[in-house]
Amino acid sequence: MKSKNVIEIASSRIAQEGSSSVVQTKSKTKINFSRKAESEFFVDNSALAGFTGERILYMAIRELIENSLDSCETDRILPKIAVSLKLIDPLNDLWSISCEDNGIGIRSDKVSIAVCSFLTSGKYVEQQQRGLFGVGLKMIAAFSTKDTDHPLRVWSKSTEEASEYYFELRTDIGTNKPIVLTRRDVKPKESILRGNSGFRIEAVLRGRLSPITKNKIYDYISQTSIVNPYAVISFFTDDGKITFDRRTTIMPEPAKEVLPHPADMDLKTLKKAIGNYALQKTTIQGILCNSFQKLSSDKAREIIRNAGIEVKQADKYSEHELIKIVNICRQTKFQSPNVDHLSPIGERIFTVGMNTERAIFTRKDGIISDDHSQPRISTKEMKPTLTGYSSRACIINNRPTIVECGLAYGGNLSYFKLYRFANKIPLLYDEGSDVAREVISEVELNKMGVSKKQVKEQFTGLDSRSDRAIDLLPIHIFFHICSTKIPYKTAGKESIASEGELKKYMKACLSDLYRKVSKQIRREMHLKDAENRLKLYKYYIPLIVNAISESIDISAEDLTNSFLTLVDKHVKREATNPRTSNTKVENPKAPKQNHHVQGPHKDSRTKETSLVAKSSKSLKLKHVRSTQEKIENFMASEELD
């Protein structure tokens, strides 16, 4: 608070003397250099952490979920997360937000600073993490303190202590220190956290929630669930409750902390490394090979020799000498960095996620009813008919990076959609400027074995909103980039820049994937074609039959039934044996071999689209047979005439 007063005095002096001459002002004004508390800085510059106007509630939800997932994953706990967002005071736009997890919790002596003090975080290590700045929780605390008189309520049961503590906290924004209003042990029978460990936070925030932002929150949660299918995520809102259940118990290997790569060395990293060994009397050579990856003892000696500096105790070097080491390191070739410390989602988990994708829908009934028994939101399973996965490891800006690419096709998917993830976080804004968008438009569709023409013919329906073939396909494409440092385009962390060779690797990854699924996609398209065709038959056969029965004396019903049976067989045969569809298959025996090579999935689909239901088919066939003779007789008699 003191520093602020100084600034105020300084500015008021300027105001007072504003009327006197310019020269005078200049000579007399003194600029006061003052220090701002981190908390104050972040509150004033909340956009740095993404907390801007409309997005405050979205960011809060996002940060809480990310913290919870990180907290569970460090100790391989299958996450169970419950988030809630409820409007408690519509007049003043006050929302109650809470998040509870079964993660490792926070030790009781660290809770207050972990929640309230900016730039105190367990995240400041070289490790792949969801959050990066570790400011999310602090922003929520600071905003809550700033805008309301409600304390933050926190329950924590850490793995180390195994007993539950309850806190009521506020942030002293001026000093970046927590204000602990209440701190007490929670007796086992009053315990809120059910698991062996966990963390729960409740805060009141002031904010507005536009329908767009609301949908972004829904998207965020459903997309998070895609890449975290091993987590149970429940979301309670004023519109109802949604739960994404756990669909697998496999969890990805947690990310590990990693030594920096020497090619990325600078004076700061080097001095920090030396500082870490200040107490031991170590040589610079020892520090180099212990503090950086891919740096053997020999290599370290070589670097020191090339730098041309004398050998002495590590902390005795001047900056002038150290920069020589840095410069040599930047010129030296090293082995590529390791990737094993990264935590990609992996094919198995990714596939489960894609197969169980659910989208959240809001019921649009215009009338806002107070009846909360009827939830206004529901989810719909996408049930894609096929999924594919491919991945590539690469080095972007000297940091190992893994690109994962997934693809889901068919089922309830209606049109193309791109999903972007960075370190398992969904990116929802700025899709247009993301490198993934470029990758999609630059990788040719025919790598998938389908031509644009084919796609347009088959999928140009009633709502062809786009000229681009990919947009017409019922396809979802997923990109996941994981790295210790994601090349975000902006501070908002919502889109990824085309840094280094990232785009090249992403394209390679997508091309791989297209090739991989090519056969299946073509098969799917054939099935879809068959489905379309059955629809066409349904529409056209009555016209044909009508025209014929008007011209010649024949039973329209018999002809219709026979025709339907015929086309049904025809379409099924083609669907299972698409190769021969274009050449005339007169011999009905030939395609039978392939008839049974149908997955259970496909089978149910053909059943669905079948015009003649199985149960009644045999009946109708019999009927046809009996009338057949009649018809043959008719034909014969006509010919005699």
Binding site: R533, L536, L543, I544, A547, L559, S562, H570, M635, E638
Partner: protein
């Protein structure tokens, strides 16, 4: 009339037979029905040296409702066949547009409705298919197009029971050539020759000048692309009434193409060339060389388009234009890249075309 009725009965019989074949395929043989239709178009058109005309090749297409694309086509052909059958049963006649309306409907259910015909072109194609399936030209099943051909001169027609004299003394009007050609009979022709021009505007100019009376000629035009009635009338006048036929069109590849419709036929109607083409017709003008021989001023000449030039290059390769005269003409066009309409002669005066150019051309060719 009795003869017509009999032919109608035959056509109905043919249509019913097609329907029966389909029923047989579906009901007893349990196979996809298929309509085998002669392929129409440039890739199934062959030049017959003997007949001196374009004739249809041997390729056929199988229209079977076995692919997404062919389901609607097959249905359209069947629906059109039934409509033709109905028309004949009711002893009515219709234009091709009338047939389009008679068979208009939508397919599909709520939310996904489509038109049965995307346009009249689709329905015209279906009529053509019925012709090919039955082997009966559409005039014989009373489906006609809107008349656009015109005729003037000493010729007497009987349409149904009415006599039409085309030798109109007033010089003020021409007679439309009826398209229900089955009902038309040529009673008498007093003219010495038949002159066909590309456009009706040019025909009007020539008629007004008194050309018909002076040279005892019949003037005809197809008003651009000639319809079948006009082509058939030209053929009958040439082959039955033994009257020489001369053709004048604009000096551009398009005009030459139209002139050749009369003389050698067209790719889209090559299946019917025997009834439509007049191999003895003489294409006399307007030659590309006429642009320069008759001093058409530069202002009245038009620059050839890219399309024109491509067409001319194509034409130069055609067997029926192999003789030296045409090769020279086309080379001239490709060299100068200029084209010209018959109307350009009006620059020399309104009577120049009818009183100077045409007589001179006719004299050169020995018609006069």
């Amino acid at each position: 009339m009795a003869a017509i009725d009999k032919r109608h009965k035959e056509t109905i019989g043919k249509i019913k037979l097609i329907m029966k074949d389909i029923c047989k395929d579906v009901l007893s043989e349990k196979k996809m029905p298929s309509l085998d239709i002669t392929k129409i178009g440039y890739d199934n058109t062959v030049w017959s040296e003997e007949k001196r005309m374009l004739t249809i090749g041997t390729k056929t297409v199988h229209i079977s409702p076995d692919t997404t694309k062919k389901i609607p086509t097959f249905s359209q052909y069947i629906v059109m066949s039934n409509a033709v059958r109905k028309l004949l049963d009711e002893e009515m006649e219709s234009t091709i547009r009338g047939m389009y309306y008679a068979t208009l409907s939508t397919v599909g259910d709520e939310g996904n409705k489509q038109k049965f015909w995307t346009s009249q072109d689709a329905s015209d194609d279906a009529i053509k298919a019925v012709e090919l399936l039955t082997g009966v030209p559409r005039e014989e099943f009373s489906v006609t197009s809107k008349p656009k051909g015109m005729i003037s001169g000493p010729i007497l027609l009987r349409v149904g029971g009415d006599i039409i004299d085309c030798n109109l003394g007033s010089r003020a009007t021409s007679q439309l050539i009826p398209t229900n050609i089955m009902d038309v009979e040529i009673v008498d022709v007093k003219a010495d020759f038949v002159m066909v021009v590309e456009k009706d505007t040019v025909l009007n100019n020539i008629r007004k000048s008194g050309f018909i009376q002076k040279y005892n000629a019949i003037l005809m035009t197809g008003s651009g692309e000639p319809d079948r009635a006009t082509r058939m009338m030209v053929k009958t006048l040439n082959e039955v009434w033994k009257k020489p036929v001369v053709v004048f069109a604009d000096a551009d590849p398009w005009g030459l193409g139209i002139a050749l419709r009369y003389k050698i036929g067209s790719e889209s109607l090559s299946y019917d060339s025997d009834r439509l083409v007049t191999p003895d017709a003489k294409v006399l003008g307007m030659m590309f060389s006429d642009i320069y021989d008759y001093n058409i001023p530069e202002v009245a000449r038009l620059a050839a388009s890219e399309e024109d030039l491509n067409r001319a290059v194509d034409m130069k390769k055609k067997q029926w234009l192999k003789d030296k005269k045409w090769q020279k003409e086309l080379s001239l066009f490709l060299k100068n890249k200029e084209k010209c309409e018959l109307d350009a002669f009006f620059k020399h005066g309104f009577r120049y075309l009818a009183e100077t150019y045409l007589p001179q051309k006719l004299r050169e060719s020995g018609i006069l």
